[in-house]
C-alpha cells in the first residue's frame, strides 16, 4: 500500500489516540475534511495492509502494577538467531522480540526481548524459566532493568 497525503494526515490525527467522545471518527473526519465513513475505511485499510499492527487500548504496564521492566539482550549465533527469536516470542510475558545488529566491540548482542513483571524477582524467575524451556540459557545475555522513564508514548509520524 502506498500512503497518500491524506493517509499521512490521518496517521498524525490518530497517533495520540481517538477522542473519548461518542463519535470519535466523525470528529477526526471533521478535522481532516473527510467523511466519517472515509476515516473508518482508511483506518481499516491501514490495518489490512499491516501498517497498523493493532488498533485498540494501549496500556502503560507500569501503572498496571508491572513495575519491573527488563530488556533482555542475547548474543545468539547468526545461524540460530531466527529460531531463537521465534521461540522467545511465544512466551506471554515477552512483549517484544526483535533482532538488531551487533555493534562490535561495544555491543555483542543481537536479539532483544522485553519482559514485564510485577517485581524484579518475578522478571528474573520468568527469565530463568524461559531460558530453561528454550535451551537458550547457555548463550551469553544481559538483563537491563529500566530506571527513570523520561518519555513514554506512541510514535509520532509528523506533527499536527
Amino acid at each position: 500500500m502506498v500512503l497518500t497525503d491524506t493517509d499521512r494526515k490521518l496517521i498524525v490525527a490518530i497517533q495520540d489516540g481517538l477522542p473519548l467522545s461518542p463519535r470519535p471518527y466523525a470528529e477526526i473526519a471533521e478535522q481532516l475534511s473527510l467523511s466519517e465513513q472515509d476515516v473508518i475505511k482508511r483506518i481499516r485499510q491501514l490495518q489490512s495492509s499491516n501498517i497498523i499492527k493493532r488498533f485498540g487500548a494501549v496500556v502503560r504496564h507500569h501503572e498496571l502494577g508491572y513495575t519491573a521492566n527488563a530488556m533482555v539482550v542475547w548474543d545468539i549465533p547468526d545461524d540460530q538467531v531466527d529460531a531463537a527469536g521465534k521461540k522467545l516470542g511465544e512466551f506471554d510475558c515477552v512483549t517484544l522480540c526483535y533482532r538488531r545488529p551487533r555493534q562490535l566491540p561495544l555491543w555483542p548482542y543481537n536479539l532483544f526481548t522485553m519482559i514485564h513483571g510485577k517485581s524484579h524477582d518475578s522478571v528474573i524467575d520468568a527469565l530463568e524459566k524461559i531460558a530453561a524451556e528454550t535451551g537458550l540459557g547457555a548463550f551469553s545475555k544481559e538483563v537491563l532493568f529500566s530506571g527513570r522513564r523520561f518519555r513514554q508514548r506512541g510514535a509520532h509520524y509528523g506533527q499536527r
Partner: protein, 165 residues
C-alpha cells in the same frame, strides 16, 4: 556502577485494583477496537453497560495513566523509519542528556536502563535520513558513545498486554 534511581510513583495501580468492567474492557479491546461510527456505544452493548459508563471508565483509566490511548500501534518501519538508540552517559549528566533527547519530537520511548549504556530511546521519523541526522546531532552535541540498533527482524511485536502475566 551506576545507581538506579527509583522514580516516585503516585499513579501506580495494581491489576487487582482494576474494576471488573475495566478488566473486561482491557481483555477485550487491546485489539479489534470497533471501527464503527459509535464505538463506545457498541462496546457498552457488548459489555452490558451504558455508553456513559464506558466513557467515564476510559476517562478514569486515562487520568490514572493506565490507559495511554485508544489508537494505533504501528508496524515498525512501515509508515516511516525507526531505530533503537543507546547512549553511554555519565550518571550526573543523565537528566540533562535525557532532556536534550526529549527535545526531539521524533523520540517516543526514552528510558534509563542499568548498564554502561544507560539511556535507551526509540526514534521514529518519516524517513531514514532524518534518523541519521538526529543521531549525528546527538553525537556532535554530547560526544558520548551512541549505538544505533535498527530493527532487522521482528519475531514478536506488541500485540497487547496479557493481564495474567
Amino acid at each position: 556502577m551506576l545507581k538506579l534511581t527509583i522514580q516516585k510513583e503516585t499513579n501506580q495501580v495494581a491489576v487487582s485494583e482494576l474494576t471488573d468492567l475495566e478488566r473486561r474492557f482491557l481483555n477485550a479491546y487491546q485489539h479489534e477496537f470497533p471501527l464503527s461510527p459509535m464505538p463506545y456505544a457498541d462496546i457498552a452493548d457488548e459489555l452490558g453497560v451504558t455508553e456513559t459508563k464506558i466513557l467515564e471508565m476510559l476517562d478514569s483509566l486515562s487520568r490514572r495513566k493506565i490507559l495511554s490511548r485508544i489508537g494505533p500501534v504501528f508496524t515498525p518501519n512501515r509508515a516511516g523509519a525507526s531505530t533503537l538508540v543507546a547512549m553511554a552517559v555519565p550518571a550526573e549528566q543523565l537528566e540533562e542528556v535525557a532532556a536534550l533527547v526529549n527535545s526531539y519530537d521524533e523520540v517516543n520511548h526514552n528510558y534509563e536502563r542499568l548498564n554502561d549504556f544507560n539511556l535507551w530511546f526509540v526514534l521514529t521519523a518519516s524517513d531514514r535520513n532524518r534518523i541519521e541526522e538526529i543521531i549525528q546531532e546527538l553525537r556532535d552535541k554530547t560526544g558520548f558513545q551512541i549505538l544505533n540498533l535498527p530493527l532487522e527482524q521482528a519475531y514478536h511485536i506488541d500485540l497487547g498486554f496479557p493481564l495474567w502475566c
